[in-house]
């Protein structure tokens, strides 16, 4: 895909995608070594979050789900704090209280990942409501899966956002499966983006392996949102290359997907595709691209080291943060 995106932005996207990839690979390694618990890997889907977040500003908000490392890293999360959180340490984003599924960084607009499928969809809609009520120009975007799209929360939020013209982007990452279940068995229409018709909003089907396509679709939707023209539903066709989660290996054995299908999707690795675009367009050299990866790798290693060395939260933390006010909980 040819594009007129600046080199800076392209390289930023490449960097964030590599950060995610290396982050997830490192976690796999550490999981196998017994250093961390089970997590949901974003490998294969990097272009979705990164392409989308490249179209957002720091002052814009995102919210995510249980497949929970890609979105915050794409939005600019600090790898050390993210890793420390997954280690359950005091220097983590949530002081170790949240863990892998609850990364958040309110300071750069990351309203948080969420373990209950589709439960951050209404929350992101509410952030957009605040933008509208206060006449601000920030937008919010929420990432959710093909499985999540079947939750009532999505219907209610999309309808609400549309009748109130809220500046929110509903980004459905259709990675084809919810755990072992194909979306073809649970979604009544061909494309989830077709459901946008039911809410009188644009429904855009995007190649989720292509970061540039994701960026462009999102940028368009952001513009609409900032202009007060309301929400957009973006369906990104993508694939998770790995198991549903580290820790659910046994499910792989149930053979809910063919090896050949996985192999085919792997041919469209989002990192390869973006690198190729960058190189083919003469934007950067292969060596420059390799350096981005190497750098991200080093950052991730540092983050892991940081996380390992951070202490566990101590007993005094237990009741803290239940309430904003310091009051006895019981």
């Amino acid at each position: 895909m040819t594009t007129n995106i600046s080199k800076d932005l392209l390289m930023l996207m490449l960097e964030r995608m590599w950060r995610i990839r290396h982050f997830e690979l490192k976690l796999t390694e550490m999981y196998n070594a017994g250093e961390v618990g089970g997590v949901h890997l974003y490998i294969g889907q990097e272009a979705v979050a990164v392409g989308a977040c490249a179209a957002l500003k720091d002052s814009d908000y995102i919210a995510g789900n249980h497949r929970s490392h890609g979105h915050p890293i794409a939005k600019g999360a600090n790898l050390k704090k993210a890793m420390a959180e997954i280690f359950g340490r005091i220097d983590g984003y949530c002081k170790g209280k949240g863990g892998s599924m609850h990364l958040a960084d309110f300071s750069v607009g990351i309203l948080g990942e969420s373990g209950i499928v589709a439960s951050s969809v209404p929350v992101a809609t509410g952030a957009a409501l605040a933008s509208k009520l206060e006449g601000k120009d920030f937008v919010s975007a929420v990432f959710f899966g093909d499985g999540a799209s079947n939750q009532g929360a999505c219907h209610e939020s999309m309808n609400l956002a549309s009748v109130w013209d809220l500046p929110v982007l509903f980004i459905c990452e259709n990675n084809q499966y919810a755990v072992t279940t194909s979306y073809k068995d649970t979604v009544a229409v061909e494309h989830i983006s077709d459901r946008a018709q039911a809410y009188n909003m644009p429904g855009i089907l995007v190649d989720g392996q292509d970061a540039i396509a994701m960026y462009e679709a999102t940028a368009q939707a952001v513009e609409r949102a900032r202009n007060g023209e309301g929400p957009t539903l973006i369906e990104a066709l993508t694939y998770r290359f790995e198991d549903h989660s580290l820790g659910l290996e046994k499910i792989r054995k149930s053979e809910y997907r063919e090896e050949s299908e996985i192999d085919e999707w792997r041919l469209r690795d989002p990192l390869d595709l973006l690198t190729k675009s960058i190189v083919d367009s003469g934007t950067a050299t292969p060596a420059e691209c390799d350096a981005v990866s190497a750098n991200a790798h080093a950052e991730v290693e540092e983050a892991a080291e940081f996380a390992r060395n951070s202490p566990f939260p101590d007993e005094s933390e237990l009741y803290k943060d239940m309430f904003a006010s310091d009051m006895p909980v019981v």
Binding site: I116, A153, F323, M327
Partner: protein, 322 residues
């Protein structure tokens, strides 16, 4: 001080806070027309921008309130207790848990106004009194005003509070009258019980709609020479244990009157605390006067059997006196 109805007092509290703080807004179904009463006049004063009629999508707009609060607004959400089941996930997974699981990053100044209609033939789908459920869940402040003055003062505190609060507005109290301070600085703090009547023989802890019933029972018992102390906890989270334990320390006898269904009720909780922490003070078995463990029957002949009454409280007081 002016005499006001409980329902008006709630509305006064909201209006005063909306005047002070432009971040406060009210959303819910048909709030512009104020179907449930307490929002009367607000639409005229504050207009479409701050009084939002929502679609019938409780999970959606309960959650939207969380999101708006998370980025700095101060939403008030109006609903009935019975409709909270529909939006339960957003109340529990987001409103209640978000702050803790994000290590304190989220500050959620949102007030859910849960009107509890019961006692007037609303039947099973419209008569829930579910505060014990939210007490168990944790992370939400639970407010149960028992008098018009508290209705106003606690509402104002709720709106100013930086945590998610559920105001359980007791339908049987909405029409009660009492003196309500006009002072816009008047608030009632959370976690401080109200000793409505001092006494020395028996402690009656009365929640929400049980408050006037407990006071009537105390009055009645006074005629028989029994001195009853009546305590309204006002907020169940935080709970003012201290005041209750001190009172039992003095009286040695406890009756808890709670319109919620009796199993795992607020009454159960208070009794479990006293049975553990003030056991040696107790001179008689504690008495639970809560609702019968049934769904609310429509027929008045059955419904009237369900809730705590003055007579029921009197009977229990007598039991503790042996």
């Amino acid at each position: 001080m002016t005499e006001k109805m409980f329902m008006q007092a709630l509305g006064m509290g909201i209006a005063e806070e909306m005047r002070i703080d432009p971040k406060v807004f009210l959303m819910g179904e048909d709030v512009r027309a104020s179907v449930y009463g307490a929002a009367s006049g607000l639409h005229d004063e504050f207009g479409d921008e701050r009084i939002l009629n929502t679609p019938l999508s409780e999970n959606g707009f309960f959650g939207a309130a969380v999101g708006a609060a998370a980025v700095g607004m101060r939403p008030i959400v109006e609903t009935l207790t019975s409709f909270m089941w529909v939006g339960m996930d957003q109340l529990v997974s987001q409103a209640a848990k978000m702050r803790y699981m994000f290590g304190g990053q989220a500050t959620l100044p949102v007030v859910y106004r849960a009107v509890m209609y019961y006692g007037g033939g609303s039947a099973a789908h419209h008569s829930d009194r579910s505060y014990p459920v939210f007490m168990n869940i944790g992370g939400l402040k639970i407010v149960t005003p028992g008098t018009p003055a508290d209705a106003k003062g606690l509402m104002k505190t709720a709106i100013r509070d930086n945590d998610p609060v559920i105001m359980f507005e007791d339908g049987t109290l909405l029409g009660t009258r009492g003196e309500v301070p006009d002072d816009p600085d008047f608030t009632v703090p959370f976690g401080v019980a109200n000793i409505l009547r001092e006494g020395t023989d028996v402690t009656v802890v009365a929640i929400a709609g049980s408050v006037p019933r407990a006071l009537a029972a105390a009055e009645e018992m006074a005629k028989e020479g029994v001195s009853v102390e009546v305590i309204d906890p006002r907020t169940l989270v935080p709970l003012d244990k201290e005041t209750i334990l001190n009172s039992v320390g003095k009286t040695g006898r406890l009756v808890v009157a709670d319109p919620a269904a009796k199993v795992c009720s607020a009454a159960s909780e208070i009794m479990s605390i006293v049975g553990e922490e003030a056991f040696w003070d107790l001179q008689a078995p504690m008495q639970k006067v809560a609702s019968k463990q049934v769904h609310i029957p429509f027929s008045p002949s059955l419904e009237k059997l369900v809730y705590p009454t003055s007579d029921g409280i009197i009977e229990s007081i007598k039991k503790t006196l042996g």
